[in-house]
């Protein structure tokens, strides 16, 4: 029986169990892409294409939705309005209150860009979350970092911003002990965790999804292996739904934390 299965597996041309080849485990190599085209030493790759397409899609969606805004909104407009109101009521207002409404466009575009970029992990043909390349995360983080430092210095003054980092009512001799911690938190750790969280989640999600997808193919054979393949296929479905949640959640967390960082810059001692 094993012999005939082996023959079938070999005839299929792929790498299967019983065909003598090991499990082609997905790894870091799955995050590197051959350039689509190159101009000199600049290589245009699939993640860049995804990044540009997502950016353009978000712009196009909101441009179409509000091109001719009506009092009684059509389908696209009401969808866009729902999204904006959700960001305002669930993310912006809880952290910043009404005075933060000026930052709504920033947070809305950031949320939808990250969400769409993450969703690309699950959409056939693209099937890659560009945020799992950490280079796509840092520009967003630098924007947030620059903005909250700028607002902090602007609202509290150069000296005041540092003074307000440590809470009031702490004995004076503790302040020098706390200052290195607060300084490092605001300037290094906070942006670092903001970026690495998004990157790590997308990286792990893509890896998990590809492992079960490859395993489904690898275990597929006309034997007991079919059962294992079915198990793996079920896991693909499970991880798919999980990732749908993670994609939304990571966009939400990134935007919410951005809002709380902005709030702490606008609001001294918070």
């Amino acid at each position: 029986v094993i012999g005939s299965v082996r023959a079938v597996a070999e005839a299929s041309g792929g790498c299967h169990l019983f065909s003598g080849c090991g499990f082609p485990a997905p790894g870091l190599q799955d995050f590197d892409f051959k350039p689509i085209f190159s101009i000199g030493s600049f290589h245009f790759t699939k993640p860049m294409l995804i990044g540009i397409l997502c950016g353009l899609s978000v712009i196009a969606f909101f441009a179409v939705a509000f091109a001719r805004p009506k009092l009684v909104p059509g389908k696209t407009q009401s969808l866009a309005e729902m999204g904006i109101l959700a960001i305002r009521d669930q993310i912006l207002r809880p952290a910043l209150g009404r005075r933060g409404d000026g930052y709504l466009p920033f947070l809305v575009s950031m949320f939808f860009y990250i969400f769409l970029m993450n969703l690309m992990e699950l959409i056939p043909f693209f099937q890659f979350p560009a945020m799992s390349r950490i280079g796509f995360v840092w520009p967003l983080v630098f924007m947030v970092w620059g903005l909250y430092l700028f607002l902090g210095f602007k609202n509290q003054g150069g000296f005041g911003y540092f003074k307000n980092m440590v809470p009031h009512g702490v004995p004076w001799w503790i302040l020098p002990l706390l200052f290195p911690i607060e300084f490092l938190k605001f300037f290094v750790i906070q942006p670092f965790t903001l970026g690495v969280r998004l990157f790590g989640n997308m990286f792990a999600g893509h890896l998990l999804l590809s492992i079960f997808m490859v395993a489904t193919w690898y275990l597929m054979s006309f034997s007991i292996g079919l059962l294992w393949a079915a198990g793996s296929a079920f896991m693909v479905l499970f991880v798919f739904i999980l990732e749908l949640l993670v994609d939304l959640l990571q966009a939400f967390i990134f935007t919410t934390l951005t809002a709380t960082y902005l709030a702490s810059s606008l609001d001294p001692g918070h």
């Binding site: 009521d89 207002r93 911690i181």
Partner: protein, 86 residues
Amino acid sequence: MTSKDAVNNGKTAEADSRAEGLGIGWSVLSYLIAGMVAYGAIGWGIGKAVHVSVLFPIGMLVGIGISVGYVIHRYGRQGSVERNDR
């Protein structure tokens, strides 16, 4: 207040506490890492200067101790997190 208003207020309070909880949770993590890194770096620098390499891990431990104490002082007690007025 109508029942719809009450539901809306409940939703707003829920969103408020969610945002606050997320902010505090990640702040606590940031403090713990920052304490370890900051005092680890200070310990490493002093250790390098006086050629006592054990000061690096000691610095890290001291840093963790300080940040744990700080986190407890700042967030640990019930009602210690003051809410801002909106």
